[in-house]
Amino acid sequence: MSTSQSHSVSGAVLPGHQLVLGPDAPLHLDCGEDLAPVTIAYQTYGRLNADKSNAILICHALTGDHYVADIHPITGKPGWWQELVGPGRILDTDRYFLICSNVLGGCMGTTGPADINPATGKPWGVTFPGITIADMVRAQVRLVDHLGIDQLFSVIGGSMGGMQVLEWAVRYPHRVFTAIPIASAARHSAQNIAFGEVGRQAVIADPDWCQGDYLLHGKRPQNGLAVARMAAHITYLSEAALHRKFGRNLQGRKLTYGFNADFQVESYLRHQGSSFVDRFDANSYLYITRAMDYFDLAADHGGVLANAFRGTKVRFCVISFTSDWLFPTRESRAVVHALNAVAANVSFVEVESDKGHDAFLLDEPEFHATLYGFLEGAAEHRGLPRAGW
């Protein structure tokens, strides 16, 4: 384990743990290349119990990171699942040992395109190998191995995190006791690939992208990345949520008859875009959205999703949200139907919410009650005592 501190693209020091996979233990990627060295940045919460049966791996989404329940080192904001994590909370740190690592290709400490390619001494940029959701999970497997954990009590995550959850359950079923994919899918839909492409093209069209070599030129494609984020952010919300939040409210007192942010929703989106570029690397955005596009569990199993789950002993809890149009309920239902087809142990709840895809990050009491109940039931089956027992 390395003790050196890593830095974000904006130069901030990134706290937390690191695992370094040396040249003797490269990561074999789907694209055929071996990647080494690989740094995996991660955070843990709670304590691993004596028989190492209480570990929960949390998988973060596209632009998330491993600061699940810490003050974020760049934005200064609370962790993205701060409300769920802590003593006596749903992800009870007195009971469970929580692990979350920054995904492969990321820009918050885990090896990604902004890092130096040791062979050239220059940032990888677009020479970084193409990665997949399976590659991200391979890196997580190495981390879980390193921590000495045979079987995770649970793997949980929303959106792209849910893709990783499904990948874990399919490729490493004996290492997963429960799998909780939230607001996710077994494949990226054509519409989602289309949105991904809009975002990528916005980045690529920015002259400061410099064919991917912006770091060499001391530049960053901030405008392109901000536009990508603005477009994507709309897909994370719902029409109802946008309307409730902003309506047609004006930013100032009257229309300007120009192209400034007349409407509050414009100002909000601009803020989302500009604050995102402070904490995210543009090439990471290209690589990770591509990984999501490539994800298709059924394709790896003869086109039949049920085949991916055949014989599984994993207990699944699939959760979707009514107003999520990016990963709509029918995508979750397709996973549930495939699990039914192999008589797997599955719970499925569609939570009523008007908050869109982002609902999994927000205070949704029904979602939280579902999560709590499922984990309680599973912990009972696994023989995990409650804290203090």
């Binding site: 719970s347 499925f348 709840v349 009523e352 029904e366 499922f374």
Partner: protein, 211 residues
Amino acid sequence: MVNGSANGMSAASIRVDLQLVADMVEPNSRVLDLGCGEGILLDYLHRFKQVDGRGMELSMAGVRAAVAHGLSVIQGDADTDLKDYPSGAFDYVILSQTLQATREPKGVLEHMLRIGRRAIVSFPNFGHWRVRLSLLRHGRMPMTETLTYQWYDTPNIHLCTIRDFMALCDELGIVIERAISLDSKGTIRFDAGGRLANLLGEQAVFLLKRR
């Protein structure tokens, strides 16, 4: 669909018709409960019969409550979602007080006995004397303690009598292993195959298997 207050979760005593269903289930078996509501029967079977249980429920409120209580329940519709399940996946497939609310009772019954080695079905008996008398006296769609809905808002679109049900089983080549009918108090029980059951039984519980 039928009167009877839902007991609290993990209660040792459950509604009489659910108790009759539960009594038909062998311990340590695999059970799929269709229309499981909040999972009261599943919870009972898990706690007292060590059953590996799964549930399917149409209403999201029911599903959420069941999953929040740690039960394996999915949101789904018995009319459309049973085709996904493989044959012989369960020891018992249970349909309590829901058959009459399905669009295709016959198809549902066939799927139940494909998926499960046995099926347990309970339903309100439309041949009960009160129902007959109500229709005879008032000339209007019967409303009784068991059938509490008006004709225009009832979810019970395929009501049947005990004799109707037995005729369907016969047509489908289904063997009736046990048949119990109970009166409104749930205390007096008849053999539902008996002659008086269709007149005196307010509800019926059948244990079925493939021929």
